[in-house]
């Protein structure tokens, strides 16, 4: 009986302490700060751009930061929150410390844990100053929008959030970015942006069984080695392999982030959105820093070499009826060239292009099916969009043309099957009931 009582007390203690732990409000360096510091509009906006808050906290037709974007979790859909300063539906009543806990620690003022669809494990690296700038921006420079967001459709008990703390215990690492004294300032600035606000790993780092990123900085071998997400394959951002940034100089990386294109390629898919909303607005110094940092990440070596025999074969018309080469000639070659080299910066090459040799063909399939959106540079949408081929080409044809491209001009990537195309065709069709719901950004 006594043992039972001890056990019971112990259990109660565990529950109480546990409950306290999983619902506790973490401490913030801003605890007790009554008067949050103020900044200029530009200062705060810049951090918001770098962190690309708008990508998730807005819908295509909605007001900026009013939330509502549907995001998938393994349990069901949730909706990005309204982060305008509206006191009822938004974050108008947040203190700086509460705001900080949400952004860097994933905890709401009432102790509710935020789903890690919000990249707070990356934002954890933000400096105090950047957090304060963000807060000032949202409180004073964003229009309040009195609009509620839809209720999550995750049913009880799965909708209980406190178990998320277990996820935090396992994967979340606290602490702001610590500069590496062995590296120069530019490198450190780049590392800070990539790991922190830029949350590049959300897409470019592979995820583990609990959808956690398998690495949050260069110390992890898997960091930025490429990931599959939302029907896109985000290529490795490491040096080395052709499928990564192996052929790209630092200047080319910076130019890509500044103008959305360089001679190797053009942004598309989720990266186009990241560019349009975020990197296009960053300063040259910051972009150069990102380039310096990414170019320093080691990768596998590349042995790709251009092979002109494909071009000769296309010119000679030496291929079977209905083959991938034939489809390429008719549908693709007017822009990408029979030589696969594209044209300058506007029409990207396919020979040796990261997108054409990636281990996963998802991005290429997605792009051929659905085309690319328009890259907006300097407020001006560009003119060279890739058209969608969803209607003109069937699954087999898309598989064949991609298989051709992935093995042409020295490219050496796996074949694409009609089943892969069929699957993505369905999952990217807004009318389908299997449509991809965005998970992370």
């Amino acid at each position: 009986m006594k043992t039972f009582r001890i056990l019971l007390v112990a259990l109660i203690v565990v529950i109480v302490v546990g409950w306290w732990y999983v619902t506790r409000i973490p401490s913030s360096p801003f605890d007790g700060v009554a008067q949050a510091p103020t900044f200029t509009l530009e200062e705060g906006e810049y951090v918001a751009r770098a962190a690309d808050c708008v990508a998730c906290h807005s819908t295509e037709d909605g007001k900026p930061f009013a939330g509502g974007l549907e995001m998938g979790t393994p349990l069901g859909s949730i909706f990005a929150t309204n982060i305008t300063p509206d006191p009822v539906h938004g974050i108008g009543n947040y203190t700086l410390a509460q705001f900080d806990n949400a952004v860097r620690r994933g905890v709401l003022p009432d102790g509710t844990r935020i789903y890690p669809a919000m990249p707070y494990p990356s934002y954890a690296k933000l400096t105090d100053e950047d957090v304060a700038k963000l807060y000032d921006y949202f409180m004073h420079h964003v229009e309040p929008v009195a609009e509620p967001i839809p209720e999550s459709d995750i049913p009880w008990p799965l909708s209980i959030r406190w178990p998320l703390e277990a996820w935090n215990v396992a994967f979340y690492r606290s602490g702001t970015y610590q500069p590496d004294p062995a590296q120069d300032d530019l490198w450190n600035r780049g590392a800070y942006l990539v790991q922190g606000a830029g949350h590049c790993g959300s897409c470019h780092t592979p995820r583990g069984f609990a959808i956690q990123e398998r690495g949050y900085d260069e110390g992890d071998a898997a960091f930025l080695t490429g990931g599959l997400l939302d029907g896109w394959y985000a290529p490795p951002l490491r040096n080395g392999a052709v499928s990564g940034l192996g052929n790209w100089s630092e200047d080319e990386i910076a130019a890509f982030l500044r103008t959305g294109r360089n001679r190797h390629g053009v942004v598309f898919g989720s990266m186009m959105e990241a560019f349009n909303n975020s990197t296009a607005f960053m300063t040259d110094d910051d972009l150069q820093g990102i380039a310096r940092y990414l170019a320093s990440l080691p990768g596998e070596s590349s042995n790709w070499e251009y092979d002109a025999s494909t071009t000769d074969m296309l010119l000679a018309g030496d291929f079977a009826e209905g083959s991938g080469a034939e489809i390429y000639l008719q549908r693709c070659s007017y822009c990408h060239g029979r030589d696969g080299l594209g044209r300058g910066e506007f029409l990207p090459p396919l020979a040796g292009a990261a997108s054409a040799v990636a281990p996963h063909a998802d991005s290429a399939i997605n792009l051929v099916l659905n085309g690319a959106g328009r890259v907006v540079s300097g407020g001006v949408p560009d003119s060279y969009r890739m058209p969608p081929f969803r209607i003109p080409l069937n699954d087999r044809e898309i598989a064949e043309v991609l298989t051709f491209i992935r093995s042409a001009w020295g490219n050496d990537a796996s074949a694409v099957t009609a089943e892969q195309v069929a699957d993505l065709r369905e999952r990217t069709d807004p009318m389908s009931d299997r449509v991809i719901v965005l998970q992370m950004r």
Binding site: P381, P387, P388, F389, I391, M431
Partner: protein, 760 residues
């Protein structure tokens, strides 16, 4: 501005105007050679050569021997200009190469009291059909008058009987005396001659050229050198370019735009708003065709030095729209369902035709066939995107427009600006495809509305392909429900057809065809779904292009239910119709298409027939039938092996032109049935370019064989462009059914899964 013809014209308005024209005195408008090249201060009063003779407002002969023909119907690719000069050639016999066409000016038409449009209808392609009797008579009478004057003048000069003078190759000759001289020697003398009575045109039996020879289009040499000036090619001094965006949801209104965001972009000059006109505005000039004046839509345009700059800036321009009620249509499925609900419901709608007692007959039981069909919105996708060019000042308007209806475009410019009609000129340019899209001329009006806000300079407004496609005047979405009871012989004893579509949808081609006219108990009615906001218009063979799909697919369904061969069934059915052309066409098809001969597994022939323009009458319009030989592979893809076409338009004037039109119509009819579909999301049109609106290409086109054996030689020359739009689609659907057992009741066919396991 006074012109030399006006006075004479008042003397004899419809008769002869023969006058000596000094430099600057003639009215040469919209030259096919170079409309845009020479623009003066009064550009539509440009000079004809010194010493030219104008024989009526229809032709002028110049001292260099060129014969200018004033053509009243724009050539949209079908050859009416060539037809007009052919009439002149038949009567006047100039050198073929000396014939030169100019478009008749709507401004001149107005000032000369409708000198052109009183004969054979407005200055428009469709209603002023080049082969229509009054128009042909006008051209031929004018040419015969010129010829007889020249002969009289030469006869007087040579002292011989004019009746013994012959004309050929632009020369007059008198065999006996050996006299021989070009027309140009007698121009002045001929102008002074009065004939009483004016000669009649040659009767058909005496034609040596018309119907015997088949000249190609006279503008081809310009086209193949890239020198034909289409509307989009008009280049004027100091011209600026405008890129246009209209409310993405039809019926919506512009709320605001932020010009400051693009003010500093290269070449940008202005952004202007087009404000919709009042719905009840009075007509400022009589509309030349009973459509009424097309309204303006709410729009914004960016004006820049170059089109590319204008378009780039327009893309960067922040614009806010008030979308209006159209957004209630979340997707096209909702609209499809609304149309289907309208045909399957009990609302009778508007009864178009009724005979006997359908319901009683249907209730007798036996074999009753029933089916529902649906056709989507389709865009014309003329290869030349919409455009128009205008200069507007306080008291003068001039426009250049690739229209199907020059006079309507002119009227639109008057309506939009309120400038006096005599000070408004519309130049007809080459047209990069019509197909019905360029009839209403709302595009001309939009161009004028933009130019109005940037006055004094020529403004060239271009709809991008995306804008053209999303702001169409589409072939309407239509649903149909058909029910029939078959008698003991398998033929229908009762037929009920109910069709539905949005406001103003076309019912042409449903009740006026042979099918409802050969059955004892029939009712055809139409229900309007009044809240469809998508604007529709006339798409090649309007109404008929969907109706034939409904009727002729259904005839196949009846033949199948009766267990009869589809072609024999049609012959039995349509032999009850008073116009023998139907059976003649079917028999020609049976003989020429190898109907009934066995085909490999996976292949079959399908047949269908319809008539464009009969309007419920026998011996009217053009009956057109098609047999499509198709294959469906195991993957479900359609391959076409050949198409046989037979038709009855009464007679034909230019065999090769007829063949070309029928070929083109077959291909467009195929594309419409197989590929085309405009859809809607949240009220907005989704498709914006060919990537989402697939088109057949050269490799998709089978052998198309046009057979002339269906012609009845009935005394009419009927139309050619529209007729194939009806039967081709259902003939293909019927073939596909024969192969796969799958009945395609909706278009486009590409949406059907036709995989069938292959030719096992």
């Amino acid at each position: 501005m006074k012109d030399h013809v006006t006075n004479s014209a008042t003397i004899s308005r419809r008769g002869f105007v023969v006058s000596m024209l000094g430099a600057g005195g003639a009215l040469v408008i919209g030259s096919l050679q170079s409309q845009a090249a020479e623009i003066g201060s009064t550009p539509w009063e440009g000079p004809v050569a010194e010493g030219a003779q104008q024989f009526t407002p229809w032709i002028a002969i110049q001292p260099d021997g060129k014969v200018i023909v004033y053509v009243t119907h724009p050539d949209i690719g079908n050859g009416p200009v060539t037809q007009a000069v052919s009439y002149i050639y038949e009567e006047l016999a100039p050198r073929w190469d000396d014939l030169q066409a100019e478009y008749a000016s709507p401004n001149r038409n107005y000032r000369l009291d409708n000198v052109y449009s009183n004969v054979g209808g407005p200055l428009a392609y469709f209603s002023g059909r080049s082969t229509s009797e009054p128009r042909r008579t006008a051209y031929m009478t004018a040419a015969a008058g010129a010829r007889e004057r020249l002969k009289a003048a030469a006869g007087a000069a040579w002292g011989v009987d004019p009746a013994a003078i012959t004309v050929a190759e632009g020369r007059l000759a008198h065999a006996e005396s050996g006299n021989d001289a070009p027309f140009t020697d007698f121009l002045a003398a001929a102008a002074a001659i009065t004939l009483d009575p004016e000669p009649q045109p040659k009767p058909r039996e005496e034609w040596t050229f018309l119907g015997k020879q088949a000249p190609g289009k006279i503008q081809l040499p310009l086209i193949v050198r890239g020198q034909a000036t289409y509307g989009i090619d008009v280049r004027l001094p100091d011209m600026v370019y405008a890129a246009l965006r209209q409310s993405p949801v039809m019926g919506g209104r512009l709320k605001s735009f932020d010009f400051d965001a693009i003010r500093d972009m290269p070449g940008v000059r202005a952004a202007v708003e087009v404000v919709p006109n009042d719905p009840g505005e009075p007509n400022k000039v009589e509309p030349p065709f009973p459509f009424g004046m097309a309204p303006l839509t709410s729009a914004v345009a960016v004006i820049a030095d170059h089109y590319w700059q204008a378009r780039t800036a327009l893309d960067a321009l922040p614009i806010e729209w008030d979308d209006g009620p159209g957004t209630k249509w979340a997707d096209i499925e909702m609209m499809n369902q609304a149309a289907m609900a309208a045909v399957s419901g009990d609302e009778e709608g508007n009864v178009l035709f009724s005979v006997g007692d359908v319901e009683a007959e249907l209730a007798r039981g036996g074999t009753v066939v029933e089916a529902e069909y649906l056709t989507p919105y389709c865009d014309h996708v003329n290869m030349e995107p919409l455009n128009s060019t205008a200069i507007v000042t306080d008291d003068r308007v001039e426009i250049w427009h690739p229209g199907q209806h020059t006079q309507m475009a002119w009227a639109m410019a008057v309506q939009q600006t309120g400038v006096a009609p005599e000070n408004v000129e519309a130049h007809q340019t080459f047209v990069g495809g019509g197909f019905g899209r360029r009839v209403f001329s709302e595009d001309a009006r939009m161009g004028v509305a933009v130019a109005q806000q940037y006055p004094g300079v020529p403004v060239h407004t271009i709809w991008s392909r995306e804008e053209s496609m999303r702001q169409g005047r589409y072939k309407p979405l239509m649903a149909a429900r058909l029910r029939a009871r078959l008698g003991d012989d398998g033929l229908p004893t009762a037929l009920h057809v109910r069709v539905a579509g949005g406001p103003g949808f076309w019912t042409l081609g449903v009740a006026d065809q042979a099918l409802p006219l050969v059955i004892d108990n029939v009712q055809v009615d139409a229900v309007t779904v009044s809240d469809f906001h998508i604007l529709t218009g006339s798409y090649r063979g309007p109404g008929y292009n969907s109706a034939t799909f409904f009727l002729e697919s259904f005839v196949d369904e009846m033949a199948q239910a009766a267990g009869q061969d589809p072609l024999d069934y049609r012959i039995a059915l349509y032999s009850k119709w008073a116009d023998e052309g139907w059976v003649k066409v079917l028999e020609e098809l049976r003989d020429k298409s190898h109907w009934g001969e066995p085909l490999p597994a996976g292949q079959a022939r399908g047949v269908a027939i319809g008539n464009w323009g009969m309007g419920g009458r026998a011996n009217a319009g053009t009956t057109c039938g098609a047999v499509v030989h198709a294959e469906v592979d195991a993957e479900g893809r359609i391959r076409l092996h050949g198409i046989d076409v037979a038709f009855d338009s009464g007679r034909v004037m230019n065999r090769d032109a007829v063949k070309a039109q029928l070929e083109g119509g077959v291909i467009m009819g195929l594309n419409m049935a197989m590929n085309e579909k405009i859809t809607v999301q949240n009220g907005r049109v989704v498709e914006g370019n060919y990537d989402q609106y697939p088109m057949l290409r050269i490799g998709d086109i089978p052998d198309i064989r046009i057979h002339f054996g269906g012609l009845t030689d009935d005394d009419r020359y009927d139309e050619m462009g529209e007729p194939p739009m009806g039967p081709v689609g259902p003939a293909l659907a019927n073939a596909v059914f024969a192969i796969t057992g799958k009945r395609m009741r909706t278009q486009p066919f590409r949406e059907h899964d036709l995989s069938w396991g292959g030719a096992a």
